[in-house]
């Protein structure tokens, strides 16, 4: 038998309580019926118990219960869902594995959450052209796994690569430890099939490495689901480098570790990755995965070089020398893949591992100029001390991408608020130091208010013009990225007169 989702189980209960009707409005109730007819009853969830498990993504302190969850299994399901949402004027939010750290997949209340985790086909790897086409729910690591037999790999490697989806990576323009050398997701997507917010299917980019005209694919990548939903992505694969060498270096001071990073780059060496962890982050990683990092280290660097063997060997010696000159007290070189994996395991599990040394924490993501590392860290420490909080630091030191983890105890009254404030202050510190409010996690729900710190109202309005070109009704992931949700054509309160872009004859209000 089938209990149709949405027909609520109001019945006898031991305590005599009926289940609350989950559908919030007539509008969504009617939409749920139409969706069931279009994509199948079993793919449309409205049962309160079930939809509540989709309240948040990897950022669990923002929660919104969606009215409807659609579990799409084909492009057609995505098209049908988006088109029905557009017809009904109901907002939709696309979601992959739900591991994002900025609340980018936070549902819209009274809206549809379009789950793409079942769209997980990888087509066979096109080894000659070093490409592969995948569906958005495919897990990042599966791409490299399928490419490996051809000596190929997918370069972007966020720490959550074994669970995060390619669709989510594209939405947030995900980075990873190796983007210092290889670039972000935007550098590795050749083409995308996109369902626009009115249900139309378009192709951005293609399979050739470069395309003339406006880079709409570039605009789409990192747009956090506000321009449409990708249903298929063609990815660039890289050759697995001939040689990879990894070292783990322990320091007694953060300044020395940071100085090493700058010295390496100044010497003209471009490592595949340079990662830094401070004492607290090391403690957490040790507790979680026993990675055996140097004892007593105030900071460690994980430095990886890859490329032709001869080059790697020569540069590796050079890096060792630079580290020594910066007072490294222990340098370990990974003898084999297992040792290298252990060095990385400590780094990659650091976020979640912090759960072992603190009841709660915020993961922050900001960028600063690499050379400002020591002073920003000192200032951050001062700010944390002032609030009586601890901050663990994990970062992609090579490109100045910080991941401060603000630790707090939510059982202590008011501490969560203090921590949130500190996390916000750290971002402002990044901006005033000449950096940015996000390196790779995206703006999402969490940082949209900070966009006003980084951009002028005119900048933001210009971005709105682009968004409105794709989504004039503002139904695709509304309430994300921009500080104030605004309808297309609506004039922001702070600005008087004509939009500067319009005045210059460069654009129009949609």
């Amino acid at each position: 038998m089938t209990t149709t989702a949405g027909t609520t189980t109001a019945g006898t209960t031991t305590a005599g309580t009926a289940v609350a009707e989950p559908v919030r409005s007539d509008r969504t109730a009617a939409l749920a019926d139409r969706l069931r007819r279009a994509v199948g009853t079993e793919r449309v969830l409205t049962d309160r118990t079930q939809v509540r498990t989709y309240e948040c993504d990897g950022l669990a302190n923002f929660k919104v219960t969606p009215a409807i969850v659609v579990l799409a299994e084909s492009r057609q399901h995505v098209v049908d869902t988006v088109r029905l949402c557009a017809e009904a004027g109901v907002p939709f939010v696309a979601r992959g594995s739900g591991t994002g750290l900025s609340g980018g997949a936070l549902p819209s209340a009274d809206g549809v959450l379009l789950v793409l985790s079942r769209l997980r086909t990888l087509s066979p790897v096109d080894a000659d052209n070093r490409q592969v086409t995948v569906e958005p729910g495919v897990i990042n690591l599966w791409v490299t796994r399928d490419a490996a037999p051809h000596d190929l790999a997918y370069a972007p490697d966020p720490s959550s690569q074994l669970v995060c989806s390619i669709g989510g990576n594209v939405a947030e323009n995900a980075g990873g430890a190796h983007c210092l050398k290889y670039g972000f997701t935007v550098n590795h997507v050749l083409g995308a099939e996109v369902v626009l917010p009115d249900g139309e299917v378009v192709h951005l980019g293609g399979r050739a490495p470069e395309h003339p005209g406006y880079d709409l694919l570039g605009a789409f990548i990192g747009s956090e689901g506000t321009l449409g939903v990708a249903t298929e992505l063609t990815l660039r694969l890289i050759r697995v480098p001939e040689a990879v060498q990894t070292m783990l270096v322990g320091y007694s001071s953060v300044e020395d570790a940071a100085g090493t990073v700058s010295d390496i780059i100044a010497a003209g060496i471009l490592p595949a990755a340079v990662e830094m962890m401070d004492a607290l982050a090391i403690e957490a990683a040790e507790a979680a995965v026993s990675c055996g990092y140097p004892e007593g280290a105030v900071a460690v660097l994980v430095i990886e070089l890859d490329g032709p063997r001869v080059e790697v060997e020569a540069q590796f010696a050079q890096v060792e020398e630079i580290a020594r000159a910066r007072n490294a007290f222990e340098t370990r070189i990974a003898a084999d893949d297992a040792e290298r994996a252990l060095m990385w395991k400590g780094r990659k599990s650091a976020f979640a591992a912090v759960g072992r040394i603190s009841p709660s924490y915020f993961v922050q993501d900001g960028v600063i100029p690499r050379t400002k590392l020591p002073e920003v860290l000192t200032e951050m420490k001062r700010m944390a001390d002032e609030k009586g909080l601890r901050v663990a630091n994990v970062f992609h030191a090579g490109d100045g991408n910080l991941h401060p983890l603000v630790l707090f105890d939510d059982a202590v009254e008011g501490q969560a608020h203090e921590a949130e404030e500190l996390a916000g202050d750290i971002l402002e510190l990044c901006v005033t130091s000449g950096g940015s409010i996000t390196g790779e996690h995206g703006v999402g729900s969490e940082k949209r208010m900070k966009m006003a710190k980084q951009f002028t109202p005119e900048d933001l309005d210009t971005m709105q013009l682009l968004r409105c070109a794709f989504d004039p009704d503002g139904i695709a992931n509304p309430g994300k990225v921009f500080p104030t949700p605004r309808l297309c054509g609506e004039r922001p309160g702070v600005r008087k007169g004509e939009h500067p872009v319009q005045a210059a004859g460069l654009g129009e209000v949609f």
Binding site: M1, T14, L45, V79, W142, S160, G206, S349
Partner: protein
């Protein structure tokens, strides 16, 4: 060049073959991993329509003969459809969901940071790709319940669908003790939620039969007679088998071939110098359906210098009812097991079934409320060892004779995930001259047996079984080795249903053969056709 072109969404949306809309049955059986979808660890959907010509130059790979079937049952577990084979929903909403007797601990729930690292190793998430059938989602459901949401049909269903394989415990970087959480949740369901009459009947049948070796033994006679007759084939051929209720059908198909029982003496002296006195937990299913394994265990232990005591009056250790949420029954069994081995006066209790081993190691936690038992429970837990763990710890001394063959070692979840024992059995197997180990793909993924799961949730269990069987076959190994009767039955019967046969043995049987110098051909022959192996009946109840 970059183009934006209108899409082709008007070109139809035929359900892909094998999808629930297309066929209610299992998709075609695949012969090897090479035939598995390129999207490997998951099932996948074929793109339903053609690509427009917008893409520069090349053909889209999806057009080039990719034909991927959606795993049967995708969606079946989702919304309303009851997976318990059409048993009716009970339409309850128990509130509050949990009572005060050990509800899931909010502090343990708080350890989950919602990172999602557990998702790819969760068998049900791999099958269905939905949040509420993932560890993270189930923890979220527990949290909802603690916050006041009722224990309703859908919540119960998603807890029931958890195999309890604990792969998520291995995967979790935050150290969330999902094992403690789900084990606290299940008794709440059994106590507070009223199952439908039919489901209650099947559960009572299972839990009043399997944990009782004597009742199981009583069943051996009729079952052997049934197996000797051709009734099973007849039922299958006439289609009557498929008319049996699902759990019965599952039980019928899982019953392994029975042979004469090799009696294990109550006391077996050590060969040579005595190094330890150990007790053997004979187990209920292991002892009845796989008596060879117990006999082999005793021989190996004796050869390694142990006096082996196999107490006559032992029963189920409580694993089966415990993992099913039948707390009272489980605790009774635990107490009896504790008494039995206290009286036996042994240094160690050796267990050769992974599920039982992990349960006994939890005795201290299970009996924490009962002052007269807590310490004794903890003491027994400390003495308990899996057979492979024990031999490695002691250091093997008996001479190994060569067994030139390739072996695919399948990790039992309750050994690898629940007890963290992965290296020891491999080390012992590699210690046999001539044995070459083959890696099974997706080793961390449960085979679907999971205690009583394959009887209570036959559909997902079957899909997982086929996945595992295909992965095992793809190794091309001469022999599959595992350390749990459930995994053995599950994979062996799945292979038989697929029309494939492969020798299967317990780790300790391989060690025994090596120590006794049994020729490799004899070992493989017995592992293919001897007791415990699947009945070859290729035409199947689901075909």
């Amino acid at each position: 060049m970059t183009e934006i072109t209108p899409g082709s969404h008007d070109q139809g949306d035929a359900p892909p073959p094998g999808s629930p809309g297309a066929s209610p049955n299992v998709g075609p059986v695949r012969d090897s991993v090479a035939d598995l979808p390129a999207g490997a660890p998951t099932g996948a959907v074929r793109a339903a329509d053609e690509a427009p010509s917008a893409v520069v130059g090349a053909r889209r790979p999806l057009d080039i003969g990719q034909d991927i079937d959606l795993p049967a049952g995708t969606g079946a577990a989702t919304v309303g459809t009851s997976t318990l084979l059409g048993l009716p929903s009970t339409r309850q909403a128990v509130q509050p969901a949990f009572d005060d007797h050990h509800p899931p601990d909010p502090a343990l729930i708080g350890d989950c940071v919602h990172c999602g690292f557990c998702l790819p190793t969760c068998p049900t998430y791999v099958l269905w790709g939905e949040e509420m059938d993932s560890p993270r989602g189930r923890i979220y459901l527990m949290k909802e319940a603690l916050e006041g949401e009722p224990l309703d049909d859908s919540m119960v269903r998603h807890f029931d669908q958890c195999l309890g394989c604990m792969a998520c415990v291995t995967a979790c970087p935050s150290g969330v003790q999902y094992d403690k959480l789900i084990e606290a949740t299940r008794p709440q369901i059994e106590r507070r939620y009223q199952r439908s009459r039919a489901e209650k009947f099947y559960r009572d049948l299972i839990y009043n039969l399997f944990p009782y070796p004597r009742r199981l033994r009583a069943l051996r006679g009729p079952l052997r007679a049934y197996q000797a007759s051709r009734l099973g084939s007849l039922l299958t051929r006439t289609g009557l088998m498929s008319k049996l209720p699902g759990p019965l059908m599952a039980m019928e198909s899982l019953a392994p071939k029975l042979g004469p029982v090799e009696r294990v003496p109550e006391r077996t002296p050590a060969a040579g110098q005595r190094r330890a006195v150990v007790g053997l937990l004979a187990g209920c299913v292991q002892g009845t359906f796989f008596p060879d394994v117990n006999a082999a265990t005793v021989r190996v232990l004796a050869a390694e210098g142990c006096d082996v005591i196999t107490p006559r009056r032992q029963g189920c250790c409580g694993a089966l009812p415990g993992h099913g949420g039948r707390e009272e029954q489980a605790l009774d069994f635990a107490k009896r097991t504790i008494e039995t081995f206290e009286q036996a006066g042994v240094d160690y209790v050796v267990v050769n079934a992974a599920g039982c081993g992990s349960n006994i190691k939890e005795y201290g936690h299970q009996l924490r409320d009962e002052p007269e038992w807590a310490e004794r429970a903890e003491a027994l837990a400390r003495k308990s060892r899996d057979i492979s763990e024990f031999i490695v710890e002691m250091g093997p001394v008996a001479e190994r004779h060569p067994l030139p063959m390739t072996v695919a070692y399948q990790d039992a979840c309750h050994l690898a995930h629940a007890q963290g024992i992965r290296e020891e059995p491999r080390k012992l197997l590699r210690g046999i001259p001539g044995v070459e180990l083959k890696q099974i793909a997706e080793a961390e993924l449960c085979c679907g047996s999971a205690g009583t799961y394959n009887m209570l949730q036959p559909e997902p269990a079957r899909e997982l079984g086929e996945r595992k069987a295909a992965a095992v076959l793809a190794t091309g190994a001469d022999l599959m080795v595992t350390a749990n009767p459930g995994c053995w039955m599950q994979v062996a019967t799945t292979l038989a249903r697929m029309g494939k046969r492969m020798p299967v043995a317990h780790t300790v049987q391989v060690l025994d053969a090596s120590i006794r110098g049994v020729p490799v051909e004899d070992l493989l022959e017995r592992a293919l056709t001897g007791p415990g192996t699947a009945l070859a009946r290729a035409a199947t109840s689901d075909g």
